[in-house]
Subunit: 205 residues, 4 copies
DNA sequence: GTTTAAGCGAGACGGTACGTCCTGTCTTAAC
DNA sequence: GTTAAGACAGGACGTACCGTCTCGCTTAAAC
């Protein structure tokens, strides 16, 4: 019987060893860093973690879920501090997204994992309900602040803005293969601020 | 010898049968449409095409290259007609990209293929040298026209604009899973026109 | 690790399932009986045995070794009872060899398997070290008995006698394609007794 | 259309090139000598012969027939001269058979070819009708001479004697893997003479 | 303290796809 | 119509990975 991690039941018997959970996730990230998502195998993760495959499948229904747990769940973006202006708020958010998708493990994981997530309805729901939802909330927060400051008249369509933020970062990293993100992030934030406020500023000079 | 289409040599012997090339690519697209990229198998393509596996591997070194040839090579965007204004040019280009990435076959192919392309240096080079390069040229064309019309003072960084065009479309389709592209495309074009011209216009009302 | 039956090590983990060993060998014999050695495929054996191909290749490095294990290893001749005279001992031994090489499975297996065994140094060594060696021991036993009885003055060269026993049976079955072995076996025994004792008897009348 | 080598037809057009026939058979023997029957491929023979595969298949229906033609047809035993006594006639015949089966090409060809011949009814008929029949005739000749000389009272069953001659040679070479044939041949002839004459002689001392 | 139930590492299991290789047929251009 | 070259359909090979299951053992809570 498979048992989700948070459920009840399993009242007797030997409890799960928390160190096993941790070493599986750590090994997953190590193997990802070494071989990339496409070439990662569960056996390699088990061997690296010093763990049996059963211990992995007791915790994660599929390889995809394992990688999902090892990467997406740690991609929790923190709420960006209020930097005082829309454009700098945007820049901070973009930096966050760039850090999330552009770190060495994510670089070799995100496209493959995304493909498998999309091919699985269950994972898609979880992906959208956690990672995307969280990101969307941050976008909303930043937009609401700008409205509050009077920088925006009204909040634009959330998904559109979301796509305009995360999409270019993804394209920059995975379609163009560029690794020089800093200038890009700054410039993107500036352009998006213009796009959304309908003209004017950009970064304060 | 592998993949000899463009090479010289092989001057004698039975020439490749062009109908085999075509039926492999057609079968690939059919199987993709039915099963998606992740569940496509070479045997299924061979059976569907009425072809031996050797005929496939004589043309395509791996399954990935086969799918690449069957999809990316047919994604050749046509040069967008001059619609008279920057914003409508942008809208036309976005519509093109949306049609390329959002048609039924692409929807079940692009994420998986992209993942495998990125994991393979050779395919990455070909992907960038053909599909991305072509797209980039179109972006350049549209920007140059706008400069010529006086709508832009100078041409912004090409890759940045490219990422701001294709990225949101990708995110909309594959991260958010949305299939209602028309309004999105119109709105995106409008916002990007603002972002790049530094304010003002948007669609003519 | 390949073929670990007799080796130490591999002390942990799930042990090999003896029923799988048995069903592979049984299925091999069934498929042999139906299709013959040349047309036997590993997939057919796996399907018939209800077993994955990996389970087969975990036990047998090649198709040849699998068939070898399924046939030669079961061809263990039993030690012939002392029948009281050289000629009847010989007849019994020849009957045994005839039964070993002439049963329905062996008839469609032996020539092809022998060819592949000879083409593989490893299998040749195993074939000689088990099947041939065992047979040779029986020949020796029968000869020694005859010496003990005074029917032979001294033991003739063992390999020569061995070849004169098994060779004609092989030729009869596989070169001449004859299936009427009983009279042949009796006559052969009689002639060989004469050849080895240097004249005289033959079967008691 | 396939066309047996000896048939008429093919009245017009370019005549077959006799050098092609010869080079195919020569190449077959060369490749056999190098790789053995089991690992011989038709492509290798074609390449070695500097010939297209079609030229081979126009002459030989299958790989087996090609090897058959290249080897068995050249194994034509010559009629043994009358050496004056049964035992020396037998020795000469055995030497012939040993030379036929024990030469370098035959050593790596006979078992595999025999296996394929047996698996094919057509080839079996040809094999028996030519090679075996011819051999059998020689056995008959030698026996008849012995009867004529008064060394034998009556001619024993031909197939039995045939099996007792060729079988041990085959076993010696291919089952026991022995390559020291001379003493073996002499001893075998002597023993068989005893077996068939019912005692007595053997080689004249 | 014993019992019990589940966890554990190891690795065998059924299944499926891969990419390679070989056979016997077919197709081209050259002769 | 034959030739050399080589593409063709078909099908088996042996490898690799997935997710499940089984072995003997360990570990903590329940009794």
């Amino acid at each position: 019987m498979r048992r989700g991690q948070g459920e009840e039941g399993a009242r007797t018997g030997r409890p799960r060893d928390g160190r096993v959970d941790a070493s599986i996730l750590a090994a997953t990230r190590e193997v990802l860093a070494e071989t990339g998502y496409v070439r990662l195998t569960v056996d390699a993760v088990a061997a690296r973690a010093g763990v049996g495959k059963a211990a992995i499948y007791r915790r994660h229904a599929t390889k995809q879920e394992m990688v999902f747990a090892a990467t997406v769940h740690t991609m929790a973006l923190e709420a960006p501090a209020d930097t005082g202006s829309f454009v700098t708020d945007l820049a901070a958010l973009i930096d966050d997204i760039l850090a999330t998708l552009g770190n060495p493990v994510a670089l070799v994981t995100v496209p493959g994992l995304l493909a498998d997530v999309i091919a699985d309805a269950d994972l898609t729901a979880r992906f959208r309900g956690t990672f995307m939802e969280r990101q969307r909330d941050l976008v909303e927060e930043v937009l609401d602040r700008a409205v509050g400051r009077g920088e925006l008249d009204e909040r634009p369509e959330l998904d559109l803005v979301h796509a305009m933020l995360v999409g270019p970062v993804f394209a920059w990293l995975f379609m163009m293969g560029r690794r020089d993100g800093d200038v890009f992030a700054r410039e993107l934030a500036s352009r998006l601020a213009v796009a959304l406020t309908g003209g004017g500023s950009g970064f304060p000079s």
